[in-house]
């Protein structure tokens, strides 16, 4: 057997050998460790936010359309002051009746609340079985009794309208059925109070269908929609994870500078009326830009084979020619300017606290976190000496920056039915933008001016 066969055997045996590897340690060292499955957090967060917004809207709406039970002390107050809005239904009907009575020529026997106390021997018939609405259309009919005759007679001379006829029929029916409800006028309180009694003390009223009351107090929360534009600067930190640095890293550290950042945010704001606090949730698009000026000068050596020496004898017979490397040195100066941009799409969630300043302005403090949804890269980045690679292909940046901390202070002022504000904000991204395999840590902290406008939904 010859040596070639033996070498082939060695190749076959050893070429594909493997050795056990601690994968987890290697992944960690390369910065590509398997993250805990936290993908479920994003839908949960989105669901929570959506629930909060929808809940806020429903809460705000439900507080405007609720059935209400009016407290007794309020009804009395309303009775004394019919114009008070709390008993609008009663007073409105009451006013209707009053108007009808005054327009009718035969309405002198109908006693208005103002004249009721002056009338003597008048019996008030109350029909507690009547539904509230009927009561409201026929608040009270006063029957005048003759002092000499026990026979009660209704003194209503005018031709009744259909509704009044119905009311009177009801009254006649109830008169026979509810004798005990009769009382003399002297026992009767002023009609305004009676009116409230009729409305709010009647058993029928209490057990009847729910009354749809309008709400006169504003909802506890307000939902708003806002838009914000920002312009700011970025502070970048670039460091190596290892003690040794590379030429490329040194070049980048010295010559790569973060420029301005611009952003646009759309958000909803839920504000409490009772407390000066709120919640902002939205979507923000930001662009960060970096610029690099690469300057380098080096000597480029070109070697070509040529005649470097030639000897010719005095008589011209001997010619010696020596061929060799001809080295040409050229000094090359490189001066390149390249930019790269990072576009981020984030979901900022902040809690707000507002300090009022005067009647129409205030100072709002915001604090929260921003979840990076996606990061895109454009432009070129230095990957090797004198070599720029498209940032999207350079295998340098992470595809997501994770969670960053945000804080903002806004001066807000009412303007054109909404709120305009100007503020300053800061954002710190604790996660490195670069991949672990690059052995570099590339972080951003940005601050800037914010301008926004908020409309009430």
């Amino acid at each position: 057997m010859n040596i070639q066969e033996f070498e082939k055997h060695i190749h076959t045996s050893l070429h594909n050998t493997t050795a056990p590897v601690d994968e987890a340690a290697l992944f960690q060292a390369l910065g590509i460790e398997e993250k805990k499955n936290r993908t479920y957090l994003i839908p949960i967060l989105c669901f929570g936010l959506a629930l909060a917004v929808i809940g806020g809207v429903f809460w705000a709406r439900s507080t405007t359309n609720t059935s209400c039970v009016i407290p007794a002390r309020m009804t009395e107050k309303a009775a004394k002051h019919p114009s008070t809005s709390i008993s609008r239904i009663a007073t409105a009907s009451y006013e209707d009746n009053k108007a009808k009575a005054s327009s009718s020529p035969a309405s002198h026997n109908r006693i208005t609340p103002e004249i009721a106390p002056q009338t003597e021997k008048t019996t008030l018939i109350i029909n507690p079985n009547q539904p509230t609405k009927k009561h409201s259309t026929s608040v009270a009919f006063i029957k005048k009794e003759s002092p000499s005759d026990d026979t009660r007679m209704t003194v209503l001379h005018r031709h009744p309208t259909t509704s009044e006829k119905q009311s009177r029929e009801d009254l006649a029916h109830s008169a026979s059925a509810n004798q005990h409800n009769r009382m003399t006028l002297s026992e009767v309180q002023p009609l305004t109070k009676l009116s409230s009694k009729l409305l709010y003390e009647s058993e029928k009223l209490k057990s009847s269908k729910k009354i749809e009351c309008p709400r006169f107090t504003p909802p506890d929360v307000v939902l708003k929609l806002g838009m914000e534009a920002s312009l700011g600067g970025t502070h970048k930190t670039l460091s190596m994870q290892t003690t040794e640095t590379t030429e490329v890293f040194e070049q980048r550290k010295n010559n790569e500078n973060a420029l301005e950042n611009i952003g646009l945010k759309v958000f909803t704001e839920i504000e409490s009326r009772k407390l000066p606090v709120g919640l902002k949730v939205g979507a923000e698009f930001t662009r960060y830009v970096e610029k690099m000026r690469y300057k380098d000068s080096f000597v480029q050596i070109d070697t070509t084979v040529g005649i470097i020496s030639q000897t010719v004898s005095p008589n011209g017979d001997t010619i010696t020619t020596i061929y060799g490397d001809i080295i040409t040195e050229t000094e090359v100066t490189v001066d390149k300017v390249r930019h790269f941009s990072l576009f981020t799409l984030d979901i900022p969630v902040t809690a707000t606290y507002e300090l009022p300043i005067g009647k129409s302005s205030g100072l709002q403090l915001e604090l929260g976190a921003s979840l990076n949804f996606r990061t895109w890269k454009r432009g070129s980045i230095l990957t090797d000496m004198n070599t720029f690679t498209p940032a999207s292909e350079a295998n340098y940046f992470r595809s997501s920056m994770g969670i960053s901390m945000i804080g903002q202070v806004n001066y807000r002022r009412s303007l054109l039915g909404g709120i305009a504000y100007i503020g300053v904000g800061i954002r710190h991204i604790p996660t490195s933008l670069s991949l672990g395999s690059t052995q570099t840590t590339h972080k951003y902290t940005s601050a800037g001016l914010k301008l926004g406008y908020i409309m009430r939904l």
Binding site: M1, N2, I3, E5, F6, E7, H9, I10, H11, S13, L14, H15, N16, T17, T18, A19, P20, V21, D22, E23, A25, L26, F27, A29, L30, I32, E34, T383, T389, S392, E393, A394, N395, Y396, F397, R398, S399, L435, S437, T438, Q439
Partner: protein, 187 residues
């Protein structure tokens, strides 16, 4: 191609594809590291450096030749660089290649398993071992060996010839007893 998707994913910097690549090649890289470096921790460090280089330069892979070959070359280079950085080495002796090595070996050598073979060739002097391994095990050409080690082609060839001779000596002297016993078993 088998690795196209993984290569594209790694170029985009997606960790899942990078992990897939590491899972696929790390055991091979580790074996390469153990062939060129004296201990396990050094081999692990070399594997890590090899993958850093793979991720850094994967966008330069031109899809010419096998991807495994490209990866293997990076692993060998990483191991040799680590060796150069952390372990003292004698400089290569410049040699002219004018010898031919042609000799026969007993059939019993074919019965040696990969551990015994590795143990055997690791007995070669460092420079011989490097050239022999790169040429015979990794399949590098003399030109590639010359570029990697910074020597000339002829030095590489001459070193390989000497390595073969040395190997013959090693087989004849130190492994004689072992070979005889293996032959008996074969009979």
């Amino acid at each position: 191609m088998k690795y196209n998707k993984v290569i594209e994913g790694c170029i985009r910097g997606e960790a899942s594809y990078q992990r897939e690549l590491v899972r696929g090649f790390a055991p091979t890289f580790k074996a390469i590291g153990l062939r060129y470096l004296p201990d396990e921790p050094s081999a692990s460090d070399a594997v890590q450096e090899a993958f850093i280089n793979v991720f850094r330069y994967i966008h330069t892979y031109k899809h010419e030749g096998s991807f495994e070959g490209w990866m293997r070359r990076i692993a060998v280079n990483a191991s040799l660089n680590y060796r150069k950085k952390h372990f003292k080495q004698r400089p290569f002796e410049e040699l002219d290649h004018h010898e031919k090595s042609s000799f026969t070996l007993p059939e019993a050598v074919m019965k040696l398993d990969h551990e015994e073979l590795l143990k055997l060739i690791k007995q070669l002097p460092d420079q011989y071992y490097l050239v022999f391994s790169m040429n015979v095990i990794e399949g590098f050409s003399h030109k590639e060996i010359a570029e990697t080690l910074g020597i000339t082609d002829s030095t590489s060839r001459a070193t390989l010839t000497r390595a073969r001779k040395k190997l013959k000596n090693l087989l004849g002297l130190e492994n004689q007893a072992q070979l005889q016993s293996t032959e008996k078993q074969a009979i």
